[in-house]
């Protein structure tokens, strides 16, 4: 059992660049382009790791420390996510709050690193990122609370176990509302369209890209990896919370293999949906993002209200 847990933890970290590659390839196919190989993000990372680290003269030790520590905190957050087994590497009461806060810490460090560059772009990206993150924190935690209250449990593992016991066709309004809210939050948090365009390099629109503009070499590699990892983690979290069926409850090798296969299918559906979404919508104006996240907030509040209305 610990082997499976460690394996899913390592897999989630190592597969993060692949997820990025697949999304980019799917998007390319949808746009009638051939697109790059799905392995390209690995090649990018390897190349970056071999390059030199260029640091602005004004920067302090924090400039190089923050991408590395940010990566470490994102990796630590992965330890809580259930993938093919119903529990993560770590599981305890209130673990999903810790997960959210570990990601917040990673972002905190990245923002500091951006400001340490001392140019306008770092500040620009950081101030935009901070707006988005402030607005997405409340819907994120409210909808997680709604799910936890419905499942009458306070750790991810027990929530997943509870949801698995329910029938798929018996999904309550709470889950639908929380799912909608969380999806919007995940899009905003991971910097995907329509909140942020991961492919842009236009200073008027970029958020994440502006924030990391001063970085190069291994530092940039850590940032990009952590960014990809966050998407991987968030999607895995959505799957575990809302469609956990098929996830292995026991330790049998057969169950784990089936669970892994089912997970891959679920994951491809999620990624395909993301690619379709990204290809079909235009990026929102920055000051339309609060409205976007306002919808998420309203949905999450409704989810809480429904926890009382739909008493089981």
């Amino acid at each position: 059992m610990p082997v499976v847990k460690v394996a899913q933890f390592v897999l989630l970290i190592l597969s993060a660049p692949l997820v990025r590659g697949i999304t980019a390839r799917l998007k390319a196919l949808l746009q009638r382009r051939r697109g790059a190989s799905i392995w390209r993000p690995y090649a990018d990372l390897l190349k970056l790791f071999r390059k030199e680290d260029i640091v602005p003269p004004s920067a302090s030790w924090l400039f190089r420390a923050s991408p590395r520590l940010g990566f470490a905190f994102t990796v630590a957050a992965v330890a809580f996510v259930p993938l093919v087994f119903s529990g993560g590497l770590l599981s305890f009461t209130g673990d999903f709050i810790v997960l959210v806060y570990l990601l917040a810490f990673a972002r905190f460090l990245l923002l500091l690193g951006a400001l340490d560059g001392g140019s306008s772009f770092g500040g620009m990206g950081a101030s935009r990122e901070v707006m988005i993150s402030v607005l997405s924190e409340a819907p994120l935690l409210i909808s997680l609370t709604a799910i936890a209250v419905t499942a009458k449990s306070a750790s991810l593992a027990s929530i997943v176990a509870w949801t698995q016991m329910q029938s798929f066709f018996d999904m309550s309004a709470i889950h639908m509302l929380a799912f909608a809210a969380l999806t919007l939050v995940v899009i905003a948090e991971t910097g995907r369209m329509p909140v942020d365009n991961p492919a842009t390099h236009l200073e008027l629109t970029m958020v994440h890209e502006a924030m990391v503009l001063e970085y190069s070499g291994p530092s940039l590699a850590f940032i990009e990896w952590a960014h990809a990892l966050k998407l991987n983690l968030m999607v895995a979290l959505l799957i575990a919370l809302f469609v956990p069926w098929g996830i292995a409850g026991g330790a049998g090798a057969g169950a784990v293999i089936i669970s892994a296969a089912v997970y891959v299918i679920k994951f491809f559906v999620a990624i395909a949906a993301l690619a379709v979404l990204e290809s079909s919508v235009a990026k929102l104006r920055m000051y339309a993002v609060p409205e976007f996240l306002g919808i998420a907030f309203a949905l999450s509040v409704l989810a809480i209200v429904f926890t009382v209305i739909l008493k089981r």
Partner: protein
């Protein structure tokens, strides 16, 4: 335990005399501070020891000084007051030792003597407040605390504006004190003597309306001291203008005495308060937390910003106390205990990191002579130690894991998961929604302190006048280092705090079990291990791969080079958030371009943005105006003619006689 407890008071009384005596002895300014600080710190160590024993072991200590005072004057320590006495004594030690270099740098000899005489007395007043066992003792401490802190603020400097602010501070504090004393006096008809033990028994026999009145008086009275919005107007005016160590004590510790007194009232005397009381606290706490940190984000002056963030943190404490009251009334004592535990933990944690940040602000000011965020920048390279300590403070106050601020917030969140286990439907909706308020608060707090640290310590210096020479002296670094270590220790080993605090909670909320909390410590440790492993693994990459680091100027987008003016300032950083929350601020912007005809090639541009939502105008002005109008009418009584005054006395006498006869 009586000896350290009483020596706390004796030594704090001796310290001012020491300061005075050294002055008479014509010793240099350094020795005045040194001797007084030594006595004060010795007193605080004694006090912290006595507090620790009372708090953790639950051995009560009592001190009866009624012989020396006109009214009954008793001090006692139970677990709750032991905990708060520990906050007052232990956390103020760094601020006291930071005062040494601060006073030496800022004050001449006579003011230094005043400072070292007033500071121990201010600390003494706070210890009396948290250990008082009679109403007289409590009030003596409560009033002295206000007056002495006002005196310390006045010591820092004198100007028209400062006097106005001190006056506002004194007025609001006394208005609050009036409410508090009314709350105490409502017990008087039923309590044989005004000591806490008889108040406790009296409260049991009280009718609901009386209890409600007492609860409301205590809420508004102590809320004024704690700085709950909208009773907070004095706080961002009085705290920043005090000497920096005193600002730290006021924000970090003095506000907690109000929390203590309110806890004493609600959970000890009134055993939980009215059923709706929890909602009042939750809403007031939520509003204070969210608005407090949003106002902090708007500030450019570091000390004012920290003062606003104190409002936020007190808001979080009130949020937790409100959740505790709601859970208690809805048959979920375990969750109530969790929430109350969080309130206590956050009280201590806020004291630690707020002191750290204020001392950090003092260190910045001692080197740069400015606290305007838009003028600072790039200090981390010049002051690496102070910068790192300040960063630890910022991370802690933002409530991020591995540091102490996280522990309290995490436990509050866990109590918000009570949801379906509560008996009332309103509580079932309100409690989980409070999680949203707390999430928003901590997200804005993270944004705010990224902004603070980024503006002050990162990037390049924004103002040419600011050229810090070097790192601050060891006497300034040591107190900061102590507090920063405390942040980390509590963050990594919360059970050190949770276990003894649980026994405090048990005395206030019956029917709670420890098992649910016992897991928290091991959870935090498991998390810490994973984070540290991940961090070491990541950093190990450095040794496995050969990384060449090269310093190279950033591309200036076609210009010759980047200048400090091109980087984002604190104001521009918070701009998107200020736009989103524009309704909260209703900012009034003034943009001046000079000369006006050269609109596109100006020589100077000035931009000013002020917050127009003013509690003074909306809330206080009408009250003040009506008081003034009433006073205007009452002036007619004051004729200046002695016959009239004799008549008043005569009428009052007649009235009293009739009243006593026909009562």
């Amino acid at each position: 335990m009586l000896i350290p407890f009483s020596s706390l008071f004796c030594l704090l009384l001796i310290a001012p005399l020491v300061a005075g005596a050294t002055r008479a002895g014509k010793s240099p300014i350094k020795w005045i501070g040194f001797s007084a600080a030594l006595v004060t710190i010795a007193a605080l160590i004694c006090g912290a020891g006595a507090a620790l024993v009372a708090w953790c072991r639950g051995i009560p200590v009592g001190l009866d000084l009624s012989h020396f005072s006109p009214f009954s004057f008793q001090l006692s320590l139970d677990r709750l007051s032991g905990f708060f006495l520990f906050i007052v004594c232990a956390v103020s030690i760094p601020a006291v030792s930071f005062s040494l270099p601060y006073v030496a740098q800022h004050y001449e000899k006579s003011r230094a003597v005043w400072y070292w005489s007033l500071l121990p007395l201010f600390l003494l007043s706070m210890t009396v407040v948290v250990t008082a066992a009679t109403v007289f003792a409590f009030f003596l401490g409560w009033e002295l605390m206000t007056v002495l802190s006002a005196a310390l603020i006045y010591l820092e400097g004198d100007s028209e504006e400062r006097r106005r602010n001190i006056f506002l501070y004194l007025i609001t504090m006394h208005a609050g004190a009036a409410l508090v004393i009314s709350a105490f006096l409502l017990f008087a008809p039923r309590a044989p003597s005004l000591d806490f033990a008889s108040i406790r028994t009296a409260a049991g026999a009280m009718a609901v309306p009386e209890k409600t009145a007492i609860f409301l008086l205590a809420f508004f009275g102590f809320g004024t001291k704690a700085g709950i919005i909208p009773l907070h107007v004095w706080l961002p005016r009085a705290h920043p203008i005090a000497p920096t160590p005193v600002s730290a004590l006021m924000s970090g510790i003095m506000l907690k005495t109000a929390v203590y007194a309110f806890l004493r009232f609600v959970f000890d005397f009134l055993s939980g308060g009215p059923a709706w009381g929890g909602y009042l606290l939750l809403v007031a706490g939520g509003i204070s937390a969210v608005l407090g940190i949003l106002y902090a984000l708007f500030e450019n002056d570091l000390k004012r910003l920290l003062a606003y963030s104190s409002i936020e943190n007190v808001g979080i404490i009130y949020l937790a106390m409100g959740a505790a009251m709601i859970c208690m009334k809805n048959q979920a004592p375990v969750y109530a205990a969790l929430a109350l535990l969080a309130a206590l933990i956050h009280s201590l944690n806020h004291a630690i990191f707020k002191n750290l940040l204020f001392l950090g602000a003092g260190a910045i000011h001692s080197r740069t002579h400015s606290l305007k965020l838009n003028d600072l920048g790039g200090l981390l390279k010049l002051m690496p130690m102070s910068g790192t300590f300040f960063l630890i403070g910022c991370v802690s106050i933002a409530g991020l894991p591995l540091f102490n601020g996280f522990i309290g917030e995490w436990i509050v969140f866990q109590s918000f998961l009570a949801g379906g286990k509560l008996s009332g439907p309103i509580a079932q909706v309100v409690i989980p929604l409070a999680a949203g308020a707390l999430a928003l608060t901590s997200a804005v707090a993270a944004a705010c302190f990224v902004n603070v640290f980024g503006a002050a310590f990162l990037g390049r210096p924004r103002s040419p006048e600011i050229r810090p020479s070097s790192e601050v002296s060891l006497s300034m670094l040591l107190p900061q280092g102590l507090l920063a270590t405390a942040c980390l220790v509590v963050g990594l080993m919360p059970m050190l705090l949770i276990r003894p605090l649980w026994s405090v909670v048990e005395t206030l909320i019956p029917g709670s079990n420890f098992d649910s909390v016992a897991r928290i410590g091991s959870s935090i440790q498991a998390m810490a291990v994973v984070v540290l492993l991940a961090a070491t693994a990541t950093l190990a990459v450095r040794f496995l791969t050969r990384v060449v680091v090269r310093s190279s100027p950033t591309w200036g987008c076609g210009l010759a080079a980047l200048t400090a003016r091109m980087q984002y300032t604190a104001t521009s950083f918070s701009k998107p958030l200020r736009t989103v929350f524009a309704t909260v601020y209703r900012a009034e912007r003034k943009l001046e371009v000079s000369p006006a005809e050269k609109l596109y090639f100006p020589e100077a541009i000035s931009y000013q943005s002020t917050r127009t939502v003013s509690y003074e105008k909306l809330l206080y002005r009408p009250v003040v105006n009506s008081i003034l109008a009433a006073a205007q009418q009452l002036r007619r009584l004051q004729t200046g003619n002695i016959q009239w005054y004799l008549l008043y006395i005569f009428l009052a006498l007649i009235f009293m006689l009739l009243f006593m006869r026909f009562r």
